[in-house]
Amino acid sequence: MTLVNWLLQGGQEILGVLLAPLLMGWVGIWRAWLQNRQAPPLTQPYRQLFKLFHKEVVIAETASPLFRVTPYLLFGCMGLTASLIPMVITDLPLAGAVDVIALVGLLSLARVFLALAAMDVGTAFGSLGARREMLVSFLAEPALLMVFFTIASLNASTSLRFMVTGFAARGFYLYPSLAFAGVAFLMVLLAENGRIPVDNPETHLELTMIHEAMILEYSGRHLALIEWANALKLLIYFSLGFALFLPFGLTDSQRGWGILGALILFLLKLTVMGAGLAVLETVSAKQRLFRVPEYLGTAFLLAVLAILLHYLLGS
């Protein structure tokens, strides 16, 4: 049974890595439609990755080895994180390997290296992007941790696996604290993935950039890996949200048909939420950078309220 489990673990890893550009393509289609444009095909991100992998890499003369290593490190971090989250099956061998605090640590490891690499070349926009990214993330991270602590205290465990199975064991039950935590998580998801109230992923204006400004100096396969890792990050946040707030359909490896059903449900959730993300981005405007602390402060406040509610109401 353990061999089957490891195979399933590998399957999830491959599924995550291959599905991530597709999710980006799906969000892109909806964004194009909402701009009254004809959308590119769903496979457009694969085309872009394919093209980038076939292009030359141009590296600035001032770049250090750190600059070359970062894309691989970033992709490695995101790939590892993708295998730690219960997307379809809850009892995978690696699901219990780390808890949510280590998970947040893995995500911030990737971010720190990207920020260092952005400052490495010494261009003005690179350091500007790195500073802004750190500003956003040091405010987003506590909010994310508070969300996790709320759910951890509901299930008396910081392990993702027990968080998910804890909810499943109790059946359908509405938690007031989870409503607050859910909104806070959504706000953090938008901020951490460079989505519209905080950052615009499609911008050409260097002065408003956050994430894009950090990767201006990358080209060829390095850029491909960074974009792929970025897509993976969005998928990771989505599956984290599904595992914690919409865990219905998640199954364990004992049931063959259950896995297929869970997979279909997972894809269905991604389809709906991907379109929802594009709609949310279309109807909201990008904030000034100095409004971001207020925005993320609100997320943190909601997360704190969630944990207070849990202790006050005991639910």
Partner: protein, 174 residues
């Protein structure tokens, strides 16, 4: 919020189909277009233009011209780009910047000179302040003449560049 969505729904998809000049298109050129053209990233450099061409390039970004649907987009960095779109007669101040931008463009790369100024300096000609055309500074693949050229002419120029002879130095797609 509801107003925005209502407005979007009322207009529907506004993109119009663009028919590529298919007549002289050989198979491998088509493959080249499939590989690079359908995920083409464009970097625009203003080398002393009067902004007439910029307005047309801006118009090219409108939903009607279907740039997104064709898989083309503009980027903020030459290192992300495949194609350099240069406008203006190249003033001396922009000469070095243009050279550096070209150097930052990873191979395979294409350069499209836009407008009569980009071709030979146009009304500005060649003078003490002006180098008179993009080809004086960097190799140019395609010139899109016009003062300013229309968005469709620009799109046709981009297509001509990507399927041009210089592309044959690439590994031939099977």
């Amino acid at each position: 919020m509801a107003n925005i969505l209502n407005e979007i729904l009322r207009h529907g998809v506004r993109s119009e189909p663009f028919s590529w000049p298919q007549a002289d298109l050989e198979t491998w050129q088509q493959a080249l277009w499939q590989r690079f053209g359908r995920a083409l990233v464009i970097r625009h450099v203003d080398a002393g233009s009067c902004n007439g061409c910029e307005l047309e390039i801006h118009a090219l970004n409108a939903p009607q011209y279907n740039l997104t649907g064709l898989g083309l987009h503009f980027s903020a960095s030459p290192r992300h780009a495949d194609l350099l779109l240069v406008t203006g007669p190249v003033s001396r101040h922009m000469e070095e910047a243009l050279r550096r931008t070209y150097a930052a463009l990873p191979e395979p790369r294409w350069v499209v000179a836009v407008g009569d100024c980009g071709r030979d300096g146009g009304v500005f000609g060649k003078s003490y302040a002006c180098l008179g055309g993009v080809s004086q500074v960097i190799p140019v693949d395609v010139v899109v003449a016009g003062c300013p050229p229309t968005p469709l002419q620009l799109l046709a120029g981009i297509w001509r560049a990507v399927t041009s002879a210089k592309g044959s130095t690439l590994p031939r797609p099977e």
